[in-house]
Symmetry: C2
Subunit: 190 residues, 2 copies
């Protein structure tokens, strides 16, 4: 998605630790028209699938999941994050290790919102080491639902998880794939 | 908003501790078309104002803020929650006491996303004791921005905070005001 690459080049900032800050339009502050454009692009990419639910994890994925849900006219569901294990029988859970925060947290979705008849599209703002997506995939599997793919705004291609998931046969559609980045420049996969 | 009252009567559940659970369409799972209807209704109610930013707090307010931002064609910004004080000079902060979790947390917005030229609409899914809204109002004041009002999906009228804020001259537009609720019934303000 050319418009996303241009937005990253114009407004993104590379911070220490391979962090690409896009808070001005994608997560802490959302450029509404642009977020809706992304939602429409996701709907276009997956138009051949009979998606019934969009799934993401709080909080930075919610805006994109809402926009994709609006564009696809299907509900979006978000997994909640907990620091400690939630032993409730009412939820599907998965453990996710965060490299950013150096800790493992748990994500959970109430069973009533995901079931075996669902065709699920996972949506997130970033795909880096892939842990959040793998946690969401585990929840989809636990629910007995069918995963039709993952729509990601920005994939950090140099971290490899996107290509690993593709090699496993998962459809990963990233709207921008960063191949490398330095303080001065961000290079996208051609 | 009649459609919201009907949705609450149909899908809402009253849980112990005055909790009105609307996770099936408003927060954990979002009914996308309905969320967009709410966004459009908020835009209609505040159409006379020259709003430049929609402000909410993570995570359950984000979906409505995104929908309102899309309908108003202005950016939405969300305050992040922290357990401990963040002393960074780069953020506006406010302390918020949560009756649900019996603890005080801090909310923070990066200064770069809110400033003195902004006209701000606060959006949230619930207004109960009003602490989250008051925290967001403090951040708007700290930023030197102008608050034009608050758009709330569900106000718990019997907790009084909405009317207290109105008495202070704040424009509070709640799309459904619950006057009382029991295990068997939910009654709205006429």
């Amino acid at each position: 998605m050319k418009a996303l690459e241009e937005k990253i080049l114009k407004e993104g900032k590379v911070l220490p630790g391979n962090v690409l800050k896009v808070g001005s339009f994608l997560n802490q502050q959302m450029d509404s028209d642009f977020i809706m454009e992304i939602g429409n692009e996701i709907a276009r990419l997956f138009s051949g699938e009979k998606i019934t639910k969009v799934l993401t994890v709080e909080s930075s994925g919610i805006a994109l999941a809402v926009a994709a849900g609006i564009a696809l006219h299907v509900p979006s569901v978000f997994a909640k994050k907990h620091k400690s294990a939630n032993m409730s029988k009412e939820v599907y859970t998965a453990a996710v290790y965060s490299y950013t925060h150096k800790e493992t947290y748990e994500i959970a979705v109430a069973k009533e919102y995901l079931g075996k008849d669902d065709v699920v599209l996972i949506v997130d703002d970033f795909l880096a080491n892939g842990n959040a997506v793998r946690g969401l995939m585990k929840i989809v599997e636990e629910a007995g639902a069918r995963l039709c793919g993952c729509a990601i705004a920005i994939e950090k291609g140099f971290q490899g998880a996107g290509d690993e998931l593709r090699a496993q046969g998962i459809r990963i559609e990233s709207l921008a794939i960063v191949e490398s980045m330095t303080d001065e420049s961000v290079t996208f996969r051609a």
